[in-house]
């Protein structure tokens, strides 16, 4: 792979590009899936591809190939130059990133993860199914999954960047269906870790089973204002298409963000901090350098409720002539985009989850959101159904709720955060506990 990438640099420079960059990715994954209490399919996938960027007469060009031989690489370089010509001189972009010293991220690759035997995965899945089924007779159908992945990314450019890094990932999940009185419900739990040894099949299976049984016999609630507690999965799915989308500097610069002009102004309650730390040990989004080879950083996004930084890649940073925050992210098949690394939510008013619930007079607690991807990414408006919801009254969880919806705006929600649970976990990029929002209208 590296030889072909260096070949791309040579060819590109020979054809007149002032700078060339090759980004390669090579991933191998293995996955077992069970459905209706039995193992159904084992999947193994291998994928590798190279994306090539050039700066040609001041214009940026890009193309990719998933066929890795000299001929295909040469074709892709020529295509990238053609695209650069078509695009013309870029008004803002001067150079791909320079070579800089890299601090190694810790806990991103574990040999144990990459070498997990198939037999272990099979046995763990069977055990998870058994634990879930044994928990309660009303559980009728259990689905489960176990995935292992190893990915290597390679970056090389004309300015001397020549990097590669290997990442491991593992995850397990259980989905359970329960039936009673001709009614059905479902619950689930999952865990993702860089280090496979941290996966806790017992805990995941039991949590899935418990949640499922608790959700039986849901009741209707009246439409009214109340506290809304969103568990980590719900928080992550809400922030992704709203806050995070609007934090991307490309969206800010192109006026597709509700955070335009809000830098250094208050956008949340004083107690809230959000830190983006790409070097978090064992973080699911940790990496030593971003997808353009720029060293990882730890930065404040929100400090004491004040917006401190947007998320940049080399393009958006050069456009504004400011320091690159190193948030370039890409697949080999596309130009670099922007995404957060480990997006960590902190709050001065942090409590054990039970203590948090005990302070709620009237409210709901939801595990997930249904339809969060339909949020308006530019204005932050959203209208979603709550998933796996329970009604809270006088500090106690009373009963599962049949249907509930909330409609609001991401900025409005940020201003209503009053507490954070200590039940912290990482869902994708977002690292958070349960977030409590005061005075939200819940439709029932």
């Amino acid at each position: 792979m590296k030889d072909l990438m260096r070949y791309a640099l040579k060819i590109g420079e020979k054809l007149g590009a002032s700078q060339v960059e090759a980004f390669g990715s090579y991933s191998i994954s293995r996955d077992i899936e069970a459905e209706k209490n039995e193992i159904k399919i084992a999947t193994s996938k291998t994928f590798r591809a190279v994306g090539i960027r050039v700066i040609y007469e001041g214009g940026i060009g890009f193309s990719y190939t998933a066929t890795l031989d000299k001929e295909s690489i040469e074709k892709a370089v020529k295509e990238a130059i053609k695209v650069a010509k078509l695009r013309g001189k870029d008004p803002y972009y001067i150079s791909f990133p320079d070579k800089e010293a890299i601090q190694k991220a810790q806990g991103i690759f574990y040999k144990e993860t990459s070498e997990t035997p198939l037999e272990t995965m099979v046995q763990d899945i069977l055990d998870m199914i058994k634990i879930t089924l044994d928990y309660d007779k009303r559980i009728t159908s259990v689905g489960a999954g176990y995935s292992i992945g190893v990915a290597t990314k390679y970056i090389t450019n004309s300015l001397g960047i020549d990097l590669e890094e290997k990442y491991a990932s593992s995850s397990i999940g259980v989905y359970a269906v329960a039936e009673e009185n001709n009614q059905m419900t479902s619950g689930y739990e999952f865990q993702a870790e860089r280090n496979v040894k941290k996966l806790d099949i017992q805990k995941v299976a039991l949590e899935a089973a418990k949640m499922t049984i608790k959700l039986l016999n849901p009741q209707k609630i009246e439409t009214r204002k109340m506290h809304v507690l969103l568990k980590p999965l719900a928080v992550a799915s809400l922030l992704g298409p709203t806050l995070i989308n609007s934090l991307r500097a490309d969206n800010v610069q192109e006026k597709r963000s509700f955070l335009i002009g809000k830098l250094n102004s208050k956008i949340s309650t004083d107690e809230l901090n959000i830190v983006d730390n790409a070097l978090l040990p064992d973080g699911l989004s940790s990496r030593s350098f971003d997808d353009e080879g720029v060293p990882s950083k730890k930065i404040y996004i929100i400090k004491n409720g004040v917006l401190k930084s947007y998320l940049h890649n080399s393009y958006t940073a050069q456009r504004e002539k400011i320091e690159n925050t190193a948030h370039a992210s890409r697949r080999a098949l596309s130009e670099p985009s922007i995404s957060p690394s480990n997006f960590i939510i902190e709050h001065k008013n942090e409590k054990e989850i039970d203590d948090l619930i005990s302070e709620i007079d009237k409210g709901v607690i939801a595990n997930s959101l249904i339809g969060a991807h339909t949020a308006n990414p530019v204005t932050g408006e959203f209208s979603v159904a709550l998933g796996e919801v329970f009604y809270i009254e006088s500090g106690e969880i009373k009963y599962p709720v049949k249907q509930a919806m909330i409609g609001s705006n991401a900025l409005e929600m940020l201003g209503k955060i009053d507490m954070l649970g200590k039940d912290k976990r990482q869902i994708g990029s977002v690292f958070t506990g349960t977030l409590s929002f005061a005075e939200i209208t819940v439709s029932g």
């Binding site: 209706k36 193309s63 190939t65 066929t67 295509e79 269906v177 249904i370 339909t374 209208t441």
Partner: protein, 466 residues
Amino acid sequence: MIRVEDVLIKIVENAIKFGAEYADARYEKIFSTTIMYSNDRIERISTGINEGIGIRVLANGAFSFLSTNVIDVNSILQQIKDSVKSAISFGEKRKDKIKLAATKTVKDKVIIKPKYPPEEYPLENKVSFLKDLVSISREKDKRIVNATSLITDISKYKVLITSEGTEIIYKQPRVYFGLDVVAFEAGRSSWFGIRKASPTGYEYIKNFDTEVLSNEVVQKALKMLKAKPAPAGRFTVVVDNALTGVFIHEAFGHACEGDAIAAGESILKGRLGEKIGSELVTVYDDSTLHEGWGSLKYDDEGVPTQKRVLVEKGYLKGYITNRESAYKLNLSPNGGGRAQSYNHPPIVRMSNTYIVPGDYSKEELFEDIKYGVYLLGSRGGQVDISKGTFQFNAKEAYLIENGEITTPLLDVSLSGYTLEILSNVDAVSKDFDMWPGFCGKSGQSVPAGTGGPHIRIKNAIVGGRR
């Protein structure tokens, strides 16, 4: 030069030799371009070719699937050997062996030849179409602070070989484009966009007048600057054609998918023949619609597709099946096994899902509504098929007051309960239209068409904040 078909035949023959009862191999070569044009420049562009092979084996009643884009036949044959071996070992653990419902063997070549194939249409022309949409939109009104247009095209060549003798060669182009604008005035912004798509070539974009399209999008965005928060609670709603499609796809279509039924995960399991909605509601999932966005002649298991009746006059009539779920449910496979690409195994999917038009005029739907909500267009939705809870989102919404369409509303979604909602549909209009979308399931995204008439739904939950 070795033919791809011969390589795939060798692969499936070896899989059988290694002990598989069944094997299929799919080769795909995907040419694709994506361009995003924002305000005054090409913001993103990507062109290239992706090819690879996906191989599925069934051995001892269990599946194994492998995909790779490293096309080295000897290495693949070695991997197949391991793949069959692992399926055999899982099979040992299964009480209930997976079997495939019978299907006839097919040998066919389906080459869709567009006038302007995506791989031949000049990049310059693609860009100038996008540039037109953007510059016309920006010139319309000073309040338009961003216009972004995008286009994705694909030309997919695929070959399917099964150990039962099926050989299908399929070539399918697709063109998908959109325009989004952001309007800004007095500290408030709004965002509105449209998506258009066709399973053809670039002749498709010649059907559109960029002036008319841009104007429509700009006017809607400007109107939305005046939008007010939606009411919260239960209301009578009227839903337009596009949203009716997404409604039926989310509220009902997913729960009719054979894999979920067979696994006991869908709230509609065991309810075939039951009355589950008003007699005004008839629902089809039709893979055979002419130039339908989700249409296909054969699915990715080589099964000929068809027009499936899911609901007829309020009665649940059918499920969407692949070969595996059809066997378990003792039904015929009806061509619902689709894969996003070579690196995914086929799973049960919808194609073009719609509600059949009724007798009302569109205007009649609004007449008796004292206070309700009119919802148009869709950015998608989601469903929990075991609980029967679904959500779907409108791009545009208005209050209905005394039969009149009045105040524009900020982003609104509806939610409901699958087993109740179709009984609440109390009027279905005569008009009809279909819309293109992408449907995500188990990490796979496939083109899915949705549509129908205008419908009126009583007692729907509106996610607002007043």
